[in-house]
Amino acid sequence: MSTVTASQTSPGVRARTHVVDPATAVARARPHTTLSETVSQTLFMAWRSLKKMRRNPEQFFDVTLQPLLFTAMFAYIFGGAISGNVKSYLPLLIPGIVAQTVLTTCMSTGVQLREDMEKGVFDRFKALPIARIAPLAGPMVADLVRYLIAAGLTFLMGVIIGYRPGGGAAGVLGAIVLAIFTGWAIAWIFTFIGTIARNARSVQGISMLFLFPLTFLSNAFVPVRTLPGALAAFVRVNPVSHLVSASRDLANHGVISGEVGWTLLAGLAVIAIFAPLSVYSYKRHI
């Protein structure tokens, strides 16, 4: 920008020339952000979130402790009862835990967004000529790191206690990528809740209401055939069940099954509904 150089010549002393010209500024002002501007603005907002994560490492507690603890706990508590022994329960359990931790991580996306929005800096983001979606999508892009840690650590913990994925490294990688995608998609639901809720605590409350049925009323921890009729019906349509089945096919057998397609479709549908809703609500309420 030409105006920058004008004041650069004498740092500390304000340039007393007329460096601001309204007519030029009006002529230069464009009516919309372009797609590439939107993408780069989202990435800068992600940069901001990553900086904040690095300065507040306690934010990583949930994505590190939960996979480690839950994997070991569930394996040793339910392993014998459900599959006869721990080792044969692991192929069933690990993809389930991956889905569960990724979903829990989604919830904190909404809670943290709400906390963030209450700070003064969001007023500036609103006043800046940037895409309205950037302040919402930026933190979500940064959260990809958290999903990666959560999913990766779960598999690692599984391998440590004896899980040997039949799909090999490629299968496991596929399952991780699918889990990250689904997590990112479902995070839009919690982002939407973040934009409509009164405060961070109510985001947490509302989110729990969705989260518990989604994770526990799925095939994540127990085989569907052991469930009573009505429950089994819900579990079969639950998108989390599709993610879990797809992950099992990928990690345990190295197979890209139809479940992968259903999972992707469900994820895209969630984004298509909740991303516009979130932006709309962000524009209106805050």
């Binding site: 920058v4 500024a25 464009r30 000529p129 950037a134």
Partner: protein
């Protein structure tokens, strides 16, 4: 040829039953400092937020350099800088990181964003604190950083919401200098304030807002004339000759003082504060003894009383942070 920086007609914002801003018309010329004066809750901030696209406009129309605020908010955002009452900077980032991020978000290249950040931090005397966490910043430093953040894209119009509320007198003076500097650079400033003194010092024109309505508009001089000027408050000694005192005052200022005989208090309206000396000399020559003297400037309360017939109803006006204090106090 020059379009008004801000031109608003019939601006309305309603929160439920309450009309926070009620049919306000405004016209801010290019290159002027336009002050919006009013007590807390008068609707100043709401008005500013509407003009800055931060709040939807319920009725009426607003244009910024001819661009419709409601219809083309994205273009308006490229023309205005906003500095709110509460610092809108990121607490978890350093000052440099904040400015760099805001620069990048507005399309500056990385090197340019860094140069602009360095430059602005120097201009605002923050270079030493550039890489410190914001938690170590004082209120004044935050306010300066916030203003710096509004200037990155060099917007031709800057909204300042109570830019000096809560600042000490020295920092307030610095902020005033900065604001004058911006105007010298070609910016238009629209600022809100609760302080008549501040509006007086800075603004070319002032709109007085009360209960969401514009109750007066004019230059600071025009407004002050409507209120009267300074008042000399005297406490006469016991047994002083009140009639004699009254005669002296009449001879010197050509106006009758307001006397409260029971307490021996006498208020003398003054054209200018320096006539106070003449009154005191006159009283001394006549042998009238005085216990205490003070000269008070008209306060925002008095402006309001004169303009609206009711006071501001705002306790903050009378506390020690208000600049509308007596100029001289001798005892």
């Amino acid at each position: 040829m020059t379009t008004a920086s801000v031109s608003a007609t019939g601006l309305v914002k309603a929160f439920g039953e309450v009309r926070a801003v009620d049919s306000v018309d405004l016209e801010v010329q290019q290159g002027e400092i336009f002050g919006v004066l009013g007590p807390n809750g008068a609707g100043k901030t709401t008005m500013l937020r509407m003009l800055a696209t931060l709040l939807p406009i319920d009725a009426g129309q607003a244009r910024v350099f001819g661009v419709d605020v409601a219809r083309e908010p994205h273009r308006v955002r490229q023309l205005v800088g906003v500095t709110g009452q509460y610092a809108s900077v990121d607490e978890d980032l350093t000052a440099t990181e904040n400015l760099w991020l805001f620069g990048r978000l507005q399309g500056l290249r990385s090197a340019d964003a860094r140069a602009t950040a360095t430059d602005l931090l120097a201009q605002f005397g923050l270079e030493e604190a550039a890489n410190k966490p914001l938690s170590q910043f004082s209120g004044g430093m935050r306010r300066r950083l916030d203003l710096a953040a509004s200037l990155i894209s060099r917007p031709p119009l800057i909204f300042l919401d109570e830019p000096t509320t809560g600042l000490d007198p020295r920092t307030r003076g610095q902020m005033w200098d900065t604001i004058r500097g911006l105007v010298a650079d070609g910016c238009t400033i629209m600022l809100t304030t609760q302080y008549l003194d501040e509006a007086d010092q800075l603004a070319d024109r002032i709109a007085v807002i009360d209960h969401g309505r514009k109750v007066a508009q004019g230059t600071p001089d025009e407004l002050k004339t409507s209120v009267g000027s300074s008042t000399l408050q005297l406490q006469l000694a016991d047994g002083a000759d009140h009639d004699l005192a009254r005669q002296v005052v009449w001879r010197v200022v050509g106006r009758a003082p307001v006397l409260t005989p029971e307490s021996g208090r006498m208020n003398v309206p003054l054209e200018t504060a320096d006539v106070a000396g003449d009154v005191l000399i006159g009283l001394r020559q006549a042998g009238v003894t005085i216990v205490s003297v003070s000269v008070a400037k008209p306060t925002l309360d008095e402006v309001f009383l004169a303009l609206t017939g009711h006071d501001t109803g705002d306790a903050a006006q009378s506390d020690e942070s208000s600049p509308d204090e007596p100029l001289v106090e001798a005892r």
